[in-house]
Symmetry: C2
Amino acid sequence: MANQNVPQATAERLPLYYRTLQRLVTIGKTRISSSEFGDLLQIDSTTIRKDFSYFGALGRKGYGYDTQYLMDFLRKTLYQDELSKVVLIGVGHLGTALLNHNFQKNNNTKIVKAYDVDPKKIGTEVSGTKIYAMNELATDDNSDITAAILTVPVAHAQEAAEMALASGIHGFLNFSPTVLSLPSHAYVRHVDMTVELQALIYFLNHSMEERNSD
Amino acid sequence: MANQNVPQATAERLPLYYRTLQRLVTIGKTRISSSEFGDLLQIDSTTIRKDFSYFGALGRKGYGYDTQYLMDFLRKTLYQDELSKVVLIGVGHLGTALLNHNFQKNNNTKIVKAYDVDPKKIGTEVSGTKIYAMNELATDDNSDITAAILTVPVAHAQEAAEMALASGIHGFLNFSPTVLSLPSHAYVRHVDMTVELQALIYFLNHSMEERNSD
DNA sequence: TCACTTTTGTTAAATAGTTCACAATCTAAT
DNA sequence: ATTAGATTGTGAACTATTTAACAAAAGTGA
C-alpha cells in the first residue's frame, strides 16, 4: 500500500511534520496551508506539497490540509500505530537523558530495558526502565526489539553493537563517535554531537568571512 | 585563501574526516588511500577525493594521503587552531553529558560556562564548568562566545535562544525538539533525537517490507 | 449562482550531490 | 633507469533534491 518510492530526503522530514502536526492539533488548529506550515518549519512550501504528494492527494485545493487527518495519516505511515520497542545500551548521562525522555508519549516508542556494565546500576530502574547486565545482552532474545540506542563509550560501541545484533536487533541509533562496521542487514543511524558542533563552528566562521569580504 | 565554494555536503563531512585522521595518526598510520579511508568511513572513495580536491591537491598520485599533513590541513580549515568558546544553556542530564564530554581534547572547543534556572545548581561546577543563573544570560556580554548549546526544555528554548542572542551569541546547537525562530544573522543547527529515532524506525520498517515483497 | 481568491498537485527547470571513467603521474621494486 | 602497479584529481554522466510556474479545483462571499 505505502509507496516504496518515497525519496530519502522526504522520509527524513516526515517525523518533523508529524511532531509539528501534533502540536498544531493540540493548540486547536484544524487547518493549515503548505505555506504557513513551511514558514513554521523553515522549509519551502513547494517541498512540503511535493513531500505529501508522494502519498497521494492529502490536501484540498483552496483550503489546505486538515491537521488531524494529516497527523493520523503520518502516524500510520510512520508505523506509530503499533508500539515500537527499543533498548538502550549504556546508562551514562546521555543514556539517562534518553531514558527520562518520554518517547512513548509522542512517538509510540518505548525503551523497554537498558543494559550497563556498572554493578551499582544493574537491577535498578531509571524512569521506570530496568537496567540489566551488559553480559546478558549477547545471550538475550531481543528479536521483538526494533532498535538499540547506543550510548556507550566509544571504545565499546562496536562490541556492544555486535552483541545486540547477535541478540536479534537490526536497527541502531549510534551516539558514539565512531563508524560501526556491521553486516548489511543491520541499519545504523549516527548522531554525532562533536561533528555537529564542529560543523556549526565551521559554518559560523565561513559565513562571517563571506560577509567581511563581499 | 580558503575556498568559499565548498559544497555544503562536503563541509559537513570535514569534521568526520578530521576526527578519523586524528585516530589514524594516533595509531601510527602515516599514509592512507582514498579507498581505504572510504572503506573505513563507509563513503565512496571518489566522494572523498572530490571533497579534498575543493581545497587543492592534498594527496600524491600512486601514494595516497599523508595522514599527518591532511589532519593539520583540516585542523586549520576547521579553525581548530584557535580555541572556540561555547556556552551551555540548561544543565539537565543531556547538558551534563555534554559538559562531561571533553570537547577541548579533540576539537579545541571549550564550554566556558553554563546557565541554568535551578538555584541548587547555580554557583556549582560540573566537570570544571561553572553554572550561572539563567537570568544573567540576557545581560551578560557574550560577544566573545562562538556558539550556545541549547539543552533546555522545549517550552523555554525560544526564550533562551533570544536571551543568548541578546548577549551577543550568533551560533546555536539546538537539542530541543522545536524549530527556533531567530533573525537571519543567527545560525542554528538542530539535533533532534526523537526525529532520528522515528526516522530509524521508519526506514527499518520500510526496508523490511521491500525485502518481503521483492 | 457567479466572480474572485486561495491553494493544491504536478510538470518542468534548476541546482546540488554522487559516481564513473580515465589520463596523468607518482611510487616501488628490480 | 626502467617498468609495472597504484592512486590521485577531474571532466562528464548520472542521480537526487529543490524550486518555479501554473492549470485545475475547491473555497468564499456577495
